[in-house]
Every structure is written in C-alpha cells, then in structure tokens.
C-alpha cells in the first residue's frame, strides 16, 4: 500500500493537492478525511468521490498531517489499498439505540472479515445524554461481537470546540448521529499503535454525588462547576462563568474503578445555570474521582520514544499512520502539541493524518480496548 497525505484550508486547496498527488498516476482507493465542521464537507466528498476514492470522514477540532496543526482546515490520508481488504460502514443511530446499531455494525464487520481491524469514529450531540453511550459501551459492544482481541482505534468527531454537533461521513452519507467504521481485513492489513496519556491524578478522592447521563451536578455534595473552577484557581464573575469553556483547559477527572486502572474523563462543558459539567464518556453517581494534573512536557518525548520503539520492534515498514489526539492535549501542550504528533510521525516517517478528538478509542498498554480522554492514540498501518 502506498499512502499520501494532503491538507488544505479549503476545498480548492485540497483539490489542488489531490491533483498533485495523483499526477504521477497514483490511484488511491481510500481517503481518511478529518475536516473542520466549517468546511464544505459535501464539496470535499464529491471531489474524492469523483476520483472513485472511498471516504472515511469525521469532523475535527483541529487537524494535522505533520507537526503543523491547523484549526478549521482539512487533512486527508490517501491510500491505494486493495478495496477487497477494507469496507466502510456508516450507520445512523437515531432510529435505534446506539448499542444495537454498534452491534449490527460489528456483526457486519465480522461477517465481512474473519479478523476485522476497525478504525472507528462517531458523531453526536455533545450536550445530549446519548453521548456517554458512545464511549466504553460502544467498545464493549464491538468486543462482544467481534471478540476482545479485535483491534479498534479511532476518535470521536469534533466540532472545533463548539461542543454542539459533530459529523461522520462517507461518499454519500453524512450524519450528525452516526457511527462510522473503516473495517480492514486484519489478515491483510496489520495495525499497531499506542494510547498515551500521562494525566496524573492528584489531590483527595471525591465522590460524584449527583450525575445524570454524562453531566455531573455535584461532587461531594458541592456544585461540580464551582469545584472545577476552584481547582483551576479561577475567580470568575457569574457572567464570565456562563461563557467559560473548560474544554480548552485540559481538565480531567481520574475515575477509579473497582478493578484495573483508573480511567480519565475529560471535562467537556459548563452549564453555569445548574453548575453542572459534562464529561467526555460515562460517569455515575457514587464514582470516586480525583482531579488530575496535565502530563509533564516530558511525556511528549516519552510518546516519541515509545513510537520509535514500536516502529523498530513491531512495524519497521509501515505504510501509513493515523493519529487521534484529544482536544485536551491540544490545550495541555499548546504550541508543543504538534511536537507530540510530529514525534510519532517521524518515528515511522510515513504519510499521516490526524485530528483532535472528543474522546479516543484504543488499546491500552495493558492490553484492553478502552475509550479514553486526554489521550493521544495513534495507529500505524501496513498492507501485506
């Protein structure tokens, strides 16, 4: 497989870049498109469709094909992969429970390939309660059909920090409430990756005393939003608080589980009226949480080092690279966010595309598929 990555800030720029890419006779069969919600998704889709390129698309909150991160732009990874080795499945879940839809899709994937490898994205209404179903539960549903060993990587579609609605799309379908899977034949396309976080729980353990869906109202019987502001050391006026967007602050809770490692839940939004905060992923009343501090800057070097090691040990000749990095990471690392992305890209030195997500899917180092927050998930692909 040969891959090429292109980017642009408009459909025109993408058109130009695409033309250049295929000028040498390169015939991509698959395009992974990460695109700002502000862009003309249809136009870009048409562009690719005209070239008979199948599209796996998701809106983003910042996108990249190298260390340069754009916001509001388009990043595309083109691959001339054998169409027999992959299939793109997109389902809208509005008419059914997301869980049922995910099950159906996983069954389809499993029906198509004996050992499917899944690149996953979802679109959703960020303020809705269903959002939490597109996290752990989605992963568990897929595993329940395709098996625990199934490789799943991906990230939830973003909307440039608006936290309203995101989109996933293919050549002819586009939905704000959808699950999209790029299913590879795992026997033909090998994939390896890592989910890196570095978020550190600190402070005392607290209890979620009131939560509905993914909205937390009270922590230790105190208004959740006030607690979050307190930890940030911010003294905001009510007016400031109403417009305060915590998603850019890289705030996250570490939620302890009865078994295994604590998982990270990033804070999405404030609702100052009822002093609630939304978290990216599921949370329940009675959950024990700790506030976390962002990773040290050294994590960037660590992620790079790990990528180099995996490249060396497991996939010295990758064909392409996809990176799903949490929006929290963008704010946590600021101008250095690109360094992390570039560090991984350089390790493999192959065409790459990635975006800043509203939650990541990927296998942790201890071996389980998880839904993450504030994590950088990357996956290297190789067709054999």
């Amino acid at each position: 497989m040969k891959a090429k990555s292109i980017k642009g800030n408009s459909t025109e720029e993408i058109k130009t870049a695409l033309e250049q890419s295929i000028a040498d006779g390169y015939k991509p069969s698959l395009a992974v498109v990460f695109i700002s919600i502000k862009q003309d998704i249809d136009a870009v889709s048409n562009l690719l469709d005209q070239k008979n390129i199948q599209i796996f698309g998701a809106t983003s909150s910042g996108e990249f094909i190298d260390g340069d991160i754009t916001n509001g732009g388009i990043a595309v990874l083109l691959m001339d992969i054998n169409p027999a080795n992959f299939e793109i499945i997109l389902y809208d879940y509005r008419d059914k429970e997301p869980e049922a839809v995910a099950k159906e899709m996983a069954e389809k994937a499993k029906g198509r390939f004996k050992n499917p490898t899944i690149i996953l994205s979802t679109s959703f209404y960020a303020r809705g309660e269903l959002e939490s179903l597109l996290g752990d539960q989605l992963i568990r549903t897929i595993e329940s059909v395709a098996g625990k060993g199934t490789t799943v990587w991906g990230g939830r579609a973003g909307d440039d920090f608006i936290f309203d609605e995101s989109v996933v799309f293919t050549n002819h379908l586009l939905t704000k409430r959808g699950i999209i899977m790029l299913v590879f034949d795992g026997d033909k396309i090998i994939a390896t990756g890592e989910a890196a976080s570095g978020q550190k729980p600190v402070g005392t353990e607290k209890i979620i005393t009131k939560a509905i869906g993914n909205w937390v109202y009270e922590i230790d019987n105190k208004p959740a939003a006030e607690m979050v502001l307190k930890y940030l050391g911010l003294n905001l006026s009510p007016e400031e608080a109403e417009t305060f967007n915590p998603s850019g602050m890289g705030i996250a809770f570490s939620v302890s589980r009865d078994k295994g490692e604590a998982i990270i839940r990033g804070v999405g939004m404030f609702n100052w009226k009822d002093k609630s905060v939304s978290v990216l992923g599921s949370i329940h009343e009675g959950d024990k949480v700790r506030f976390t501090l962002p990773p040290d800057f050294e994590v960037i070097e660590e992620v790079k080092f790990n990528a180099e090691k995996i490249q060396h040990d497991e996939m010295p000749e990758a064909d392409a690279l996809l990176i799903f990095s949490c929006i929290g990471r963008l704010t946590q690392f600021g101008p250095l966010a690109g360094d992390e992305v570039e560090g991984v890209r350089k390790a493999f030195n192959v065409p790459m595309a990635g975006f800043f997500t509203y939650g990541e899917y990927g296998r942790t180092r201890n071996g389980n598929n998880e839904f993450h927050n504030n994590t950088c998930c990357w996956v290297a692909l190789k067709e054999i």
């Binding site: 600190v202 005392t204 050391g233 506030f291 962002p294 800057f297 600021g334 250095l336």
Partner: protein, 727 residues
Amino acid sequence: MNQNLRKITQFLQQNDSLSVEEKASLSKVVMDVDKELTITTFKLDRTEKVKRTTAILLEETIEELERKRKAVEAQNRDLEIEASLERVRSSTMMMYNSSDVGNATAVLFAELENLGIKTIRCGIIIGKKEEEKIELWTASGAGKGQVMQIVGEVDVNIHPLLKGSFEAWLQEKDFFSFKLQGNDKDLYYRSLATSLNYPISNTMGSLPDHYCTSFMFREGGLFVFTFEPFSSENSTIFKKFANVFSQTYRRYVDLKQAEAQAKEARKASSLDRVRGQIASMRTADDLQRITPVIWHELNSLDVPFIRCGVFIVEEEKSNVHVYLTTPDVKPLGALSLPIESTSLTKIIVHHWEKGIVYREHWNRDQFINWTQSMLELGQIQDRITYQGSELPPESLDLHFVPFVQGMLYVGNVSPLSDEKIELVKALAEAFSIAYARYEDFYKLEKAKESIEATLTELKATQSQLIQSEKMASLGELTAGIAHEIQNPLNFVNNFSEVSTELLDEMKDEIAAGNWQLATEIADDVKQNLERINHHGKRADAIVKGMLQHSQASSGQKEPTDINALADEYLRLAYHGLRAKDKSFNATLKTEFDENIGKISVVPQDIGRVILNLITNAFHAVTAPPGVGIEKRGTDYKPTVTVKTASWVPPSGGKGVLISVSDNGPGIPTHIVDKIFQPFFTTKPTGQGTGLGLSLSYDIVKAHGGELKVKTKEGEGAEFIIQIPIQT
C-alpha cells in the same frame, strides 16, 4: 508574533543595507526565536496554572489530612472514652457482692478524672419516686483513692437544685443543670448539711459560683459540680458514663436481691437442717444432739457470739433451768434458778411472758458479779469453767430471744444487729419445736416404760397360760399314762409275787439239799427279776416322757423317729381318754410310711403338736350330741387316722407330712380362720386355754413347716403337719 520581534522583522525588511539572503536568514532566526518565545511563554503559563491547581489541591489535601488527623484524634478520644467505659463495665462485671458497688463507682469517677474533665466533685443520685427523695452517693477522697459512700436520703424539696434534678429524672430528661451562686449557694449547702447526717465541707459554700449538672439514667443521675458550664463534648461523655452507671446500679440492685435471697436460702437451709435433725429425734436424749446444731447453724449464718445457752422456764415450779455452753458446745454451766432469785431471771421471764427479745449489756465487773452470785448460790463450781476462759469477757452483750418454752441466749462482745436477731429468732422457733418434741418423747418414754411393764406382766401371764395348757394336756395324758404304767406295774407285781413264791420254793429245795432244783429255781427268779427290771424301765421311760412333756423344751433338735413318736402319743391319748371315759371308743388307724426314717426335730415340741391334734380328733369324734350328731348314723364308727408320708416342699428338697384326720363333724366355716388364733376355743370356759392349736402352729412354723387344715362340715377334719427336712 511577539510585537518586538515583529518590529525587528519589519526593521530588517526595511533595512536596505542587508541583502535579500541576509534578510531571509535573519528573519528565520527571528521566527525561531518567536517560536521558542511562544513555547516558553506557554510553558510558563501552563506551569503557573499547574502550580496554581497543585497548590489548591495540595491545600485541599492538607485540609483533608487535617480533617483525617482530627477524625483520628476524635476517634482516639472516642476510643479512650470507650476504654474508660469498658473499664467501668468490667468493674461492674467484677462485682460479686453488693458492697463492690463502692469500688465500681470509684472506678467510674477515677476514669472520668483520667479523661481530664475538670470537676469540683461528682456523685450519684438515686431517685425515690414515691417518697420524693433522692439517695445521695458521693465520692470521698480524690483520684484513684476515692471511695464511694452512700451518704443518705434527702428530701428533694429542700432546694431547687435537688427538686430540678428530681423532676428531670422523673421526666426522663437527658440532663439538668443548675447554677449555684451567691446566697443560694450557701443556702444549698446549709440545707444539705442539716438534712444529711454527713459532714459537708465548710469550704463548699465559700467556693466561687459553680454549676451542678446531672446526667440522668433510668434509676437516677450522675451529677458533677464544675466552675464552668459543662461543654457539649463533656456532656456526651458524662451521658455515656451515666448510662454505664445505670448498668452498675442495676447489677448492684440485682446483687442485693440475690444476696437477700441467698441469705434467705441460707436461713431456710439452716432451718431445714435443724428441722431434719429434729425429725431424726427418737428419744428425749436426742435433745442434746439438737442444741449444738442450733449453735452451729448460728455460726453458719454468721451470727457472732462467744457464749450461748437455753433458758427453760418452768412456770409451775417458778424455776428457770439454764444450760450454758461455748459456741463449740463446751459446757459452761447448768443452773437451776428460782425465777425470783435474781433480777436477771425475773426480767428474762417477764420478757418471755411477753414474747419479746431482751438485751442487756454487761461490762467486765457485771460479769464478775454475776459469776460470784452464782458461786454463792452454789449453782456453779468454779469461776474459770463458768467463764469459759482464764479471764472474764471485757464486754458482753446478752440477747435473750423467746420461744415457747423459754429463751435462747446469745452472748456476744458487741450488740447483734436486728437482722442477726431475726436469724436467732428463726432458730429459737426451730429449737422450740425440738424442745416440744423432747417433752413429747419424755412423756412417751414414760408411757413406754409403763407399757413395757404391762407387757412383762402379760408375758408372765402368757407363760403361765402356756404352762397351764401343758398341764391340761398332761391331764389328758394322765389316764393314758396310768394305763401304760399299769401294764409294767402288773408285770412287776406279778413277777415279784411269782419270784417270792419261787424263792420260797428255792429255800425248800436248798433245805432239802436239792441244789440242782434250787439252782433251776434261782435261774427262774433271775429271769423274773430281769423282766421286772425291763418293765420297771418301761414305766420309768413313760414317766420321763410325761415329765419331758410338761417341761419346757430344750429346743434342741435331734433325729427322731416320727412314726414311733406319733404312735406313742396316739396310744397315750387313746388310753388317756379311755381311762377317763370307759364308754369312749374309736377306731385307730395308722398309715405310717416306714421309709421316712429319722427326722431332725425337737421331739417334745412335735410330740406336743401330735398329741394336741390327736386329742382334738378324739374329742371331735366323740363330741356330744348336737354337734353334727344328726349326721351320724347308727353305723357310725368314730375313727382317727394318723398318717406319715414323704412330702416335697414347694421350694424343693425333702420333707415329711404328718396327718391327723377324723370323721367327726368338721370345723364350721366361720371359725376355720380363727382356730390357730391364740385363746380361741370352742370349749366351755375353763375347759380349754385356747392355746393348743396356736402353740402347735408356732411350733410347726419354728420347724420351718406348715400346719394346715382341711375340713368339710359333717365330714371331718384333717390337720396336716408339713416339715421340711433340713439337709
């Protein structure tokens, strides 16, 4: 881009002295610097934010730790309090008798002090609902050395503090607090001092104003005096202690009850033992056994005494009998004093008549004087014995407890409590029963002696009767014996006459010198003399037999030919009757089993039985008309049959059977059951003793046998002697 850097870039671009390459190179440097500056600014900013958050979290963590530390401290305090309470509970559990309550309460106050609660003093009140009183317990001394004391009861109406506490307890409130200040404070302590027989320190009234707080439990309250109002934390602690004390108090009450019950049980068992001993009294002498038991039980009931005794009042003789002993029943003296002889006896009797306890205290001199007076009256022999020791007691408290017949005396070195006197009373009552029994026995023994004398007389009469029975039967025999003796006598007479004639003839022959004939005659004479001797011996034997019959039997068993015995008595009886009544005639039948051999019996006794039965049988067959005579036809032949035979006793082994039967009128059914009873007779008064069959029955029984009768009215009777053969 940083504004300054932008200015530098602009400056570089506008600087014509630089070449395009130089401008580009310098611009890139500026760009790189800008980037680094951006990164550094970001890092600083983020670090600042992280520091801020970290500081907040750290502060929070410290706060949390502080909270935890306080919680641990509070927990430690709680544990300390709980341990204290546990120690009080333990001391409560360790209470084995009610007096231990003092220790348990002292532990409670010591623990309160250990918990560092500053108090002026503490105590316990126990509410008495009906009386509107409270019982006051206070701790005297300080710290661990303090001792609880039940001070007494006080009327709650003497002061509002007490009234308030009492009301709070009645209303089951948790606590009640009262401030003692100014004159009221003095008033309180003065009121208390006058109500209680307990010294209250004069300094209490002069203390600065202070507070009394009582923490209520079910039975009362735990009160504490403090200079400051009680803190809520200390209140909580005191409340807990009050509840624990409630357990202590309940245990105290339980123990008191148990002790009262145990005391009652001890008293009861003590009395039971005395009653048991009384019940086992069999003679008047047994009273001597009971008296020590009384003293022993007094000891076991923890009644202290050094001397004791019984004063028996004989009203009719105006006398008092005194028996004094030591607690271990060493006799001190036995006095017999006329009631009027001493003031003590007078007053004792006076109290006895009224049925009330009398107490008197003697000092040494009074004891000596009394002893001296007793010596002078000759009631005691020596002083030392009476004292029971070398020296007279320094002090003696005399207690006289009345009972029906007198007073129980208990002397001790100090006065006995009412409770002890009650115990003495219980024992005095028991002793009274024993004494009454003694008196009964005494009377009984006198009666017994009189009965025994009567019995002796009766026995003598009876033996006389038996003798007369023997004589009567001897009379029966006399004729037979005479007849029996007549035969040998006839022989003796005849042979002696013949011998006299022969001797005359022999003399003639000797004179004639006819020696041969003389010798032949002498031989005949000798033969006659032998015959005379033989018949003489026979007569002798008959007489001896008769004597034997009339004498008491030796009781010695000897092998006896039963057939010969039976035969002899049959003939004796027959001839005896014939001798008396010439018209008497009866057929005698004997069916002797020759195989029975000699049997070991007392021959005189068995002979007497056989004789009695045969005589009875003869009488039956010759009974005068009117007794079954109508059944006798002209062909009636009076017949008496004597049989012997082997017999197998029901228990196995061997035996003989002697049967005497007649064909007389038989024994009427209504008297069959009575014929073996002594003195039963069908003969006219004076003709029979009524002892014949009774004695016969006893004799056969004495041989281990049976005497039975079979009879049918009009057909005769059969008496059967069954004797087992002793092997």
